[in-house]
């Protein structure tokens, strides 16, 4: 990225008691970009967002917005719109009053406020709801009000902290698209926090994946999914088979625990004899009757559009494959003898998962 609209420069946050919430975060965000902070709870993604919003102060490093340091700027002077997980609507105000709030604290003329509120209501398709109170709205409608309120004063940057967490799946997917459209329409820069990898893949321009306070990988959704740099990313984004093993030669031949030898792509420099974790997406597993490691179908799970097949190899590994519903050969039957293989390009030899022993895998 050439343009640094938002920049985290070596940002570290340590809480009382020495807990490292965020370690040495370096991240640039371009103007107009939609960046998602993805990670499990406690990974530091929300703390990073709160530092950007001004509700937490970095212990070290600094954050820049549009070239200006935010270090000494209180949240109410940052001009950043924010949507909270709980919506944080003001229950004693009407919807219109809620949306007008950022403009009234800025002492804008009345006519301008009314205009802006009407436009914001139109934007989120709540035109007729201005006179209601938040409690009279559904969860999805409340979410739209929170969105409108964060956008109405035309902030250059909008932060969203798990804004769809409380909605049911269908509504959530609908809102994902809608937020994406609004982002596209307004061209605003958007930083979005979620622990839902599907949401991250659907909406973002780029995804930043956090774990234990450290940034694991930043990249386009396709990059992150297809070319994870760590076994954690491989596991957290999408689904993957992960096998512990030892690298046997420079071409990437890995001897998996249990004696199964398979090819893989070496991602990071790795010494011969080093421990590694081989990660393979289930849709890249090849099943056949004559090629690969021998095993038997242990379980078939029907998912409508696809079928999940669990194969127990003779080496003792459980391998999980996804087959498109229309493309399931007749010989994939419960208990049938079957062989498993993959292309070296589809298997990534990543860092060893220390806590992910073969014994566990074999259970």
């Amino acid at each position: 990225m050439t343009e640094r609209f938002v920049a985290f420069d070596g940002v570290t946050k340590t809480f009382a008691g020495g807990v490292h919430a965020v370690r040495d975060l370096n991240l640039d965000i371009a103007r107009g970009e939609f960046v998602t902070f993805l990670g499990p709870s406690g990974s530091g993604k929300t703390t990073s967002l709160m530092m950007l919003a001004g509700f937490e102060t970095p212990t070290a490093g600094s954050i820049l917005l549009d070239g200006r340091s935010l270090d000494r700027l209180p949240p109410y002077h940052r001009g950043i719109g924010m949507v909270f997980q709980s919506y944080a609507l003001f229950p004693h105000m009407t919807v219109a009053e809620n949306i007008a709030f950022p403009l009234t604290v800025r002492r804008r003329p009345r006519a301008e406020i009314e205009d802006a509120v009407r436009q914001a209501l139109d934007l989120v398709q709540l035109t007729a709801m201005g006179g209601r109170r938040p409690a009279q709205l559904s969860g999805g409608q409340q979410q739209r009000v929170a969105l409108a309120r964060a956008l109405v004063f035309k902030p250059p940057l909008v932060l969203m902290d798990e804004p769809l967490g409380a909605l049911d799946r269908q509504l959530r997917e609908h809102m994902q698209i809608e937020i994406k459209h609004i982002h596209a329409r307004l061209g605003v820069t958007l930083v979005y926090v979620t622990h839902d990898q599907g949401e991250a893949l659907t909406m973002s321009d780029r995804i930043a994946i956090f774990r234990d306070g450290s940034l694991q990988q930043v990249g386009l959704p396709g990059e992150v999914y297809e070319r994870p740099l760590t076994s954690f990313v491989a596991q957290f984004v999408g689904e993957s088979n992960q096998f512990a093993g030892t690298l046997r030669d420079v071409t990437g031949l890995v001897e998996l625990d249990g004696g199964w030898r398979m090819p893989a792509t070496i991602v990071h420099p790795l010494a011969i004899g080093a421990r590694t974790t081989v990660s393979v997406r289930p849709e890249r597993i090849r099943l056949s009757r004559d090629d690969g490691a021998a095993g038997a179908v242990q379980e078939l799970i029907y998912h409508g559009d696809h079928l999940r097949v669990v194969v127990r190899t003779d080496h003792g590994h459980a391998v999980f494959a996804k087959l498109l519903a229309g493309a399931v050969p007749a010989w994939v039957r419960d208990g049938a003898a079957i062989r498993v293989s993959w292309d070296a390009a589809d298997a990534r030899a990543l860092d060893a998962l220390p806590n992910h022993t073969t014994e566990e895998k074999l259970q």
Binding site: P74, A88, R133
Partner: protein, 398 residues
């Protein structure tokens, strides 16, 4: 036929049975005594019970001069029969609250009644006590002849009926209840305001702390709540007295030269009552604030409001329900306070409950005690209705 019927009814019936003990308990210990006490404020049975015919005769008397001799004869006969009975004592007590001294006059008269019928009954009574020859004595008896009276309610408002039956103010030096009622309302208001000023920041602090810190602190707030009012008040007396710790500290710090009078006056009453009632303010505020959480303040600030404006426009309005509940709890509790003003106050700091207790226990003038209670209850009820109106008003859908 039987089976579905009983299956349909049984759960409801046994549910009723489950609440029945509580219902009976609160009816027997709470509702019934209160209703009986309030009913006393208009009942006036003593005289008509002790002297039924006299009471009936006096009701017919036009109130001018003296009652006819026949009525007085009836009275003498009934008084003679009442000698040594409890009814006489109750009637004497009742009349004593009309005219001080009536009790001993009536009992002495009963003891000294002439044996046989007199030609001039008034003169015979007046020989025992000259006051029997006065119209006001008989007017007092007529006022007390029952079975119902407005006398107690009037007395509770510093009013009385004069000998002609007109409502007039009582003598200036006896007029005390209106002052006391206003004083009760005023002290309660001050206590409520101070509790709010002190309790709001405390509750805010508690609500914004994480649970592991807030919970022990909340216990500290509650400890005084669990301590007896008497103990807490006595502790304040010790702290606030002339050579108590507070004065000692202020003097050592050089803030004052002469010890301040902090106890046995209004200051002492306010300090002790605010302390005693503070938990009643903090707890509802805390629970409402806990429900508000941090998010609205953060949201308001992220939208550009400075902390003070965010507090005024966003936090304060959301905590109004807690303020209302806390103020109502403190105010209504304060209205009934008795022990604290008694121990920490001076001559001019007694509240209405002091008089209710005085008339209930000391002089057993339960009519006046009931009337004062009724007035207190009505004032409390009106305030509650006003609160309910106010707190509902702005929430009504536009």
């Amino acid at each position: 036929m039987r089976q579905p019927m009983s299956r349909f009814l049984r759960p409801r019936f046994s549910a009723w049975l489950l609440v029945l003990p509580l219902f009976l308990f609160s009816a027997a210990t709470f509702v019934v005594p209160i209703v009986m006490m309030l009913a006393r404020s208009v009942q006036d049975p003593e005289l008509s019970r002790a002297f039924p015919q006299t009471a009936a005769a006096l009701a017919l008397w036009d109130g001018r001069d003296l009652p006819p001799a026949s009525s007085i004869d009836t009275f003498i006969a009934e008084l003679r029969d009442a000698r040594g009975t409890e009814g006489l004592s109750f009637a004497a007590n009742r009349l004593n609250s009309e005219i001080s001294g009536f009790r001993s006059m009536l009992l002495r008269t009963a003891r000294s009644l002439p044996r046989d019928r007199q030609d001039d009954p008034v003169a015979a009574l007046a020989r025992i006590d000259a006051r029997w020859g006065e119209r006001s004595t008989w007017a007092a008896m007529r006022r007390a002849s029952g079975p119902f009276t407005d006398g107690f309610l009037l007395a509770a408002l510093d009013r009385q009926r004069n000998d002609d039956g007109a409502v007039v103010r009582v003598a200036e030096e006896r007029a005390v209840f209106v002052t006391v009622l206003l004083r009760t309302l005023w002290i309660s208001t001050l206590v409520t305001v101070f509790c709010l000023l002190l309790g709001y920041p405390v509750a805010y602090l508690l609500a914004s702390m994480p649970g592991r810190i807030a919970n022990p602190l909340l216990v500290l707030v509650l400890i005084p709540f669990w301590t007896s009012v008497l103990v807490r008040t006595t502790a304040w007396v010790v702290l606030l007295q002339r050579d108590g710790m507070v004065n000692g500290l202020l003097q050592r710090l050089g803030l004052i030269e002469q010890p301040l009078t902090l106890i046995y006056n209004r200051t002492g009453v306010l300090i002790a009552m605010v302390h005693v009632l503070l938990p009643l303010m903090v707890l509802p505020l805390y629970s409402v604030m806990k429900g508000i959480g941090r998010a609205p303040m953060l949201a308001a600030m992220s939208l550009g409001a400075r902390p003070f404006e965010a507090f005024l426009r966003v936090y304060l309005p959301q905590s109004v329900a807690g303020i209302g509940a806390g103020c109502l709890l403190v105010f209504i509790s304060a209205l009934g306070y008795y022990v604290t003003p008694e121990l920490a106050g001076g001559g001019g700091d007694q509240m209405i409950s002091y008089f209710i207790a005085f008339y209930t226990n000391r002089t057993t003038n339960w009519g006046l005690a009931g009337a004062l209670s009724l007035i207190l209850l009505v004032v409390t009820g009106l305030l509650y209705v006003a609160y309910a109106r106010l707190s509902r008003g702005p929430r009504a859908p536009a």
